[in-house]
Amino acid sequence: MFDNFDLMVAALWAGMRTTVWVTLASYAIALFIGMILVVMHVSPALPARWAANAYTQLFRNVPLLAVLFIMYFGLPSVGIVADNWVWALLGLGMYTGAFVGETLRSGINSIPLGQAEAARSIGLTFSQSLGGVILPQAVRVVIPPLGSLLIALVKNSALVLAIGVPELTAQSRRLIEDTQSRFDLWGVIIGVTVSYLLIAFVLSYLVRFVEKRTAFVR
């Protein structure tokens, strides 16, 4: 079943490493974008709220594959040229960022209004009460759903094979379509499944670790 096992493992391992770093790098971008979006969402300035809303609607409602194609094929045609890696990270990051923003917003909405009123009543400014009172509590609420977004991102990252990034799914396709038919179909399917499960398990464990570390007595 596992013909040429060592070659297969080497290819899948290379794909796994790519998948992991593409996931983590684009997740970092997504967290950054989500953070900016949520501050805009709760800001007293109407244009900021409007812009955050427009961004969220755009990236939540356009398929990820379309986002990647628009970047990879569309932007170079208007003179914005970059590596396919760049588009992969930006596409995944900007797409997931919209979801991170909404998750953070629901976290903020879950904090009782009285917390913000108390923060304001001792004289904290908007940004002080957001940074010192609201976000620290909201972050703890949103760690589990942010973890789910991370796992979803692992799977979404498979789509960047469409713009030529050799991540895990791209590698397994290469193995299946091997011109010399050196690899068994089911061997590769099992191999790639186990690889994704491994990534997901490790990341879930990390999320749970962070969750425990940030817990406080309620």
């Binding site: 007293p44 917390q115 009123e117 923060a119």
Partner: protein
């Protein structure tokens, strides 16, 4: 200290405050009483602009309320507020709750802020609770921490919005005792409450509100012994029977 004149406030169709005029002098304790929905909490919250009024003017310490931003934050820092549901910061210890304002708003050095917080905790009888989280305290203890948090800003004025309404009966007095001490020491206070005993003992002036209007203003003795208006007589007959 506080001058409210011609203030109106609507919540949709509801006319919550109708042409309110009220002055609170330096060191005066004004108690707002009245039936639920009479607008007393709303009036209290307009003084530090947690509620924005539709018309009329409010001045605190001679200065009109700023609209937004840093100036409003500075005003709020000078006006202590105690809420019905305590609203202690759930992710911070008791000590951190009390020092957050002094550290971030007043830029007090940490050692000094901690020292002052300890004095205040001692004063409200919770010296041993500095390092616990709010959820580990009883309601009465949480409310006393909330008072200490307000006092830590050295406010010119303290406002209490039904501070004992969410408490078990046996915890009400520990909070009222702290408030009464404050009143005796000359703190300017605006208190919304249903505690008639406290109003009688601690108030310089009782303001009776109903349906968004100030119906009667009097000294506690006048008000409780000889209410002038039928509305106040009716209210007192219902709350004082037991």
């Amino acid at each position: 200290m506080v001058t409210i004149s011609g203030v109106n406030k609507h919540f949709g169709e509801l006319h919550a405050l109708k042409d309110i005029d009220l002055t609170v002098g330096d060191g005066e304790v004004v108690v707002l009483i009245g039936p639920s929905g009479s607008g007393k909490s709303t009036l209290c919250r307009t003084i530090n602009r947690l509620e924005v009024v539709d018309s009329g003017t409010i001045t605190v310490d001679g200065k009109p309320l700023p609209a937004e931003g840093r100036a409003l934050a500075n005003l709020r820092a000078d006006v202590g507020m105690v809420f019905q549901h305590f609203n202690l910061f759930a992710h911070l210890t008791v000590m951190q709750n009390i020092t957050l304002g002094p550290l971030k708003v007043r830029r007090t050095p940490k050692a000094e802020a901690n020292e002052r917080a300890r004095q205040l905790l001692d004063r409200v009888g919770l010296a041993d609770k500095a390092d616990v989280y709010p959820s580990q305290l009883s309601g009465g203890q949480q409310q006393r921490v909330a008072i200490a948090r307000g006092l830590a800003m050295d406010p010119k004025l303290m406002m209490f919005d039904e501070p004992t309404s969410a408490l078990d009966p046996e915890m009400i007095n520990e909070v009222l005792d702290v408030m009464q001490d404050l009143a005796r020491e000359g703190m300017t206070m605006v208190v919304v409450t249903h505690e008639m005993g406290f109003a009688r003992r601690a108030a310089n002036r009782v303001v009776f509100m109903a349906e968004g209007q100030i119906v009667e203003t009097a000294t506690p003795d006048e008000f409780f012994d000889d209410p002038k208006t039928a509305r106040a007589q009716d209210f007192l007959s219902k709350v004082m029977t037991h």
